[in-house]
């Protein structure tokens, strides 16, 4: 009766089957003449993609910076500092001019209000003028000659 060990030894005989040397040689040559598909690792692919995005952002900023000097100067530290200083000085001057104008306007308004000699602002003059107009109207309303003339025209 055949034991397991003998069967295994028997199976090892099958290793004697070999391909023909010519086939091995020709196939080796044929296979290696074909170009392999080289795949990049996913981490490399992600790296390249990230680099491309960064490059696109930087190049787009540079492109727009040509049209806007303020942005281009922002890349230079010195020019940025200069720009900032000039900006703050200009702002201060503008503020001073504005407050000066306001002060002048307020001062002149106050002067006019407090000045009694100014005719159009003097209350007593205004009251007197109002009285004069009222009297005139009364005079016009009470005139009998005018009434007689009107009656003659109408009737």
């Amino acid at each position: 009766m055949l034991k397991e060990k003998e069967i295994i030894e028997g199976l090892k005989i099958l290793k004697k089957i070999e391909p023909e040397p010519d086939f091995v040689k020709n196939t080796r040559h044929l296979v290696l003449t074909v170009k392999p598909h080289i795949q990049f690792a996913p981490i490399w692919v992600a790296g390249f993609a990230l680099a491309a995005i960064i490059l696109a952002i930087v190049s787009s900023k540079t492109f727009f910076a040509v049209k806007q000097p303020a942005i281009s100067s922002s890349f230079n530290e010195n020019s940025l500092a200069e720009e900032f200083n000039e900006m703050s000085i200009n702002l201060q001057i503008e503020e001073i001019t504005y407050s000066q104008n306001i002060h002048n306007t307020i001062a002149s308004a106050l002067t006019e209000i407090s000045d009694y000699r100014t005719n159009h602002m003097n209350t007593s003059v205004l009251e007197a003028e109002q009285k004069y107009i009222n009297n005139k109207l009364e005079v016009v309303n009470d005139n009998e000659e005018i009434d007689a003339l009107l009656n003659r025209v109408i009737f």
Partner: protein
């Protein structure tokens, strides 16, 4: 140079490195295909396809501690054999093959083998096994692979490989017992 270094080089497209791998595995892959196809020219054609596919996709092979290049290569071979049987209009049944055709490849070697009858019997014993059992037996006892390598190549667990191996050996044992009793 160890195999990992060779594989690393091959993955970068080094022809010489892949050539070394080819030299190492060509015979084993050839036998693996031959036991399943049982036709010399078809075996040569499929073996060529296995290495062509392996070379073209070698960069996709991931070098890990557990992953074996041999298992990857045999898995390609197994898939191509499956495709072959799926697409072949009329494939040859091993029982229909004449002795000369079946062993044409090893005709010269057979002369060197002392026990020719035993060789023929062992070859024939494989025909009673299922495809999975044949793969396990060939890889384990002919190519001397570890259970881990076989499991990876056939996409099975190590336990399943052990069970398949045990059943296959039992079948072969029965085959030889029946042959002996017939001869008596």
């Amino acid at each position: 140079m160890n195999e990992k270094k060779i594989i690393k080089k091959a993955r970068k497209g080094d022809q010489e490195a892949f050539g070394q791998l080819y030299d190492k595995y060509i015979s084993g892959i050839y036998r693996f295909v031959f036991f399943r196809i049982n036709d010399k020219s078809e075996t040569e054609d499929l073996t060529q396809q296995v290495f062509l596919k392996a070379w073209q996709n070698v960069s996709s092979f991931k070098i890990k501690k557990e992953a074996k290049f041999s298992s990857w290569l045999y898995r390609i071979a197994k898939n191509l054999i499956i495709d072959y049987y799926r697409t072949a209009k009329d494939h040859i049944n091993i029982d229909d093959i004449k002795y000369d055709q079946q062993f044409a490849i090893s005709y010269k070697l057979e002369e060197k083998i002392d026990n020719l009858t035993k060789f023929k019997q062992v070859k024939k014993s494989l025909t009673i096994l299922t495809e999975d059992e044949q793969d396990v037996i060939i890889m384990k006892f002919v190519e001397e692979f570890s259970n881990e390598e076989i499991a990876q190549a056939l996409d099975k667990s190590r336990g399943a490989v052990r069970v398949t191996q045990h059943r296959a050996l039992k079948k072969i044992k029965c085959f030889f017992q029946e042959s002996e009793s017939k001869n008596k």
